[in-house]
């Protein structure tokens, strides 16, 4: 588990990341509630964007390793590429799940109305994995971390808007709303509405199922690309 251990260490190695991974999510607990929209406080409505953002920060480690030839060097060592990838992803997952827990249970502790916090935790965890998979697929097509990051952020903004995370979907034209179904962010949004509305468990499973489907697709895309 050397790669896992050092992946954690590397993730927390610079000050920006340290701040991003600790104080930043905590701040989201204190965002106010909206009057009509969103159903959860703003911080929780936007938290999906945070997960997407943190995912790319984390997976950049793999991008750097590829670009610098570390991955190639490891090809000579007695460790498979699959194991290298899994251990990194495991480390990132641990970090992301921790973020989710901080935000959800921190909120509970401070008395934020989250309706069904355990289900919300589950939803966030599902979406964390989707984010991680998207980020992994994304970095596999770039060589420079700067350009990967910049273009990704524009993509995330688009995903956030079209999925209905940034503003209510109802204000969009009918055609756009229909397309929105294609974005993972839409399903996160649906999940959050479910949390506040107490729908059937079947619906919630379906919502998470869609997120997991995206996770699997992007994981496959992201992990088949090996070495530059």
């Amino acid at each position: 588990m050397t790669v896992f251990k050092f992946s954690l260490k590397r993730s927390f190695s610079n000050k920006t990341n340290l701040l991003l991974l600790t104080l930043f999510p905590i701040a989201f607990i204190f965002f106010p509630e909206g009057e009509y929209w969103p159903v959860l406080p703003y911080g929780y409505q936007y938290f999906g964007i945070v997960l997407l953002f943190i995912s790319i920060r984390l997976t950049t480690i793999i991008l750097v390793d590829r670009a610098k030839g570390v991955v190639k060097r490891l090809a000579v060592a007695p460790i498979s590429y699959g194991s290298y990838l899994c251990q990194n992803l495991l480390a990132f997952s641990v970090i992301l799940v921790m973020q989710c827990a901080i935000v959800v249970y921190g909120g509970v502790l401070l008395g934020v109305e989250l309706y069904q916090p355990h289900w919300l935790m589950l939803l966030y965890v599902s979406f964390s994995f989707t984010s991680l998979a998207i980020a992994l697929a994304w970095i596999s097509i770039f060589r420079s971390k700067e350009s990967a990051f910049l273009i990704y952020m524009s993509l995330v903004t688009l995903l956030a808007i079209l999925g209905g995370l940034l503003m209510p979907l109802q204000i969009f034209p009918e055609a756009l709303i229909r397309i929105a179904v294609l974005f993972p962010t839409y399903w996160l949004n649906q999940g959050m509405s479910w949390i506040a509305s107490e729908g059937s468990v079947g619906d919630f499973i379906l919502i998470n199922g869609v997120l997991w489907l995206y996770t699997i697709i992007f994981m496959i895309l992201g992990s088949t690309r090996k070495i530059h």
Binding site: T2, V3, K5, F6, K9, R10, S13, N14, K68, G69, V70, K72, R73, L74, A75, V76, A77, P78, I79
Partner: protein
Amino acid sequence: MTIASMRGVVKRYGSYVALDSIDLDIHAGEIIGLLGPNGAGKTTLIGTLTGMRPFDHGTVELFGQSKHPFSHENKEKIGLVTQEITIFEELTAKENLQFFAGVYGLKGEVRKQKVREVLEFVGLSDQANKLPTKFSGGMKRRLNIACALTHSPSFLIMDEPTVGIDPQSRNYILEGVKRLRDRGTTILYTTHYIEEIEAIASRVIIMDQGQIIKEGTPADLIQTIQHEEKVSFEVTDPERIPEGSLEKIAGVRRVLTAGNDITVISDAGSGNLDRMLSIIKEHTGVLGIQTERPNLEDVFFTLTGRQLRDKGEEQ
């Protein structure tokens, strides 16, 4: 004992043939100097030998195994110093070594001990807890080397480990290589610095354009061109000497012009110095004449008609 061998290995990049039917044997305890100009295929050869790059034809055998030469068991015996510096910038020197030691399965006290030993070996003990971003080029190189040593490989492959570093660091590295050999490590050492090869190699392999064009001990290789003489003229304007006029002189094998220097290689004892000088003087001024003992550089030159390194390339 044969540590590694390649038979008829061919590697193509698209239609470009980077390795053209390579045959190679490496025996226990050798320091092999792999010599060749930029783009000769040295790194590609190392890549195919270590399983890093797939190849199109031929076989590779490592530690007597040709069916699964790149098994984890075999990989544990190999150390690779990459041509590029492949270390983690955000981890300290010590942590970098802990990482690589860990990947090779070292744990606990053994790992601690090994990391300390290797830091000592490359002279970075004082810098153990510093980040490589604070290092000079030579220090990074040394750390890059150290990362290949924590697991005490019996076969060490070094791909241009001394490129772009100061003479002091270079000597340190060369001394280290010799010490490793004395401990029984087999070493494949790649470079385009002749002096390094002459200093440490027990056998030299010269590569050019994807082929091995010559191999033998340094002394043997130089012997093969002892029947040649090399004379260099420094002239005021080499352009003014008509093309091919020197080549026509009896006994002349090759002529090379670089800047104001004209180097002529002739058969030994052809006694044509006078003739050369008069032709040159007929067209331009002569500033100096030098005769040199042939070295490995000349072996390469005689074989290919080209210089191993561009004149003026920084040491």
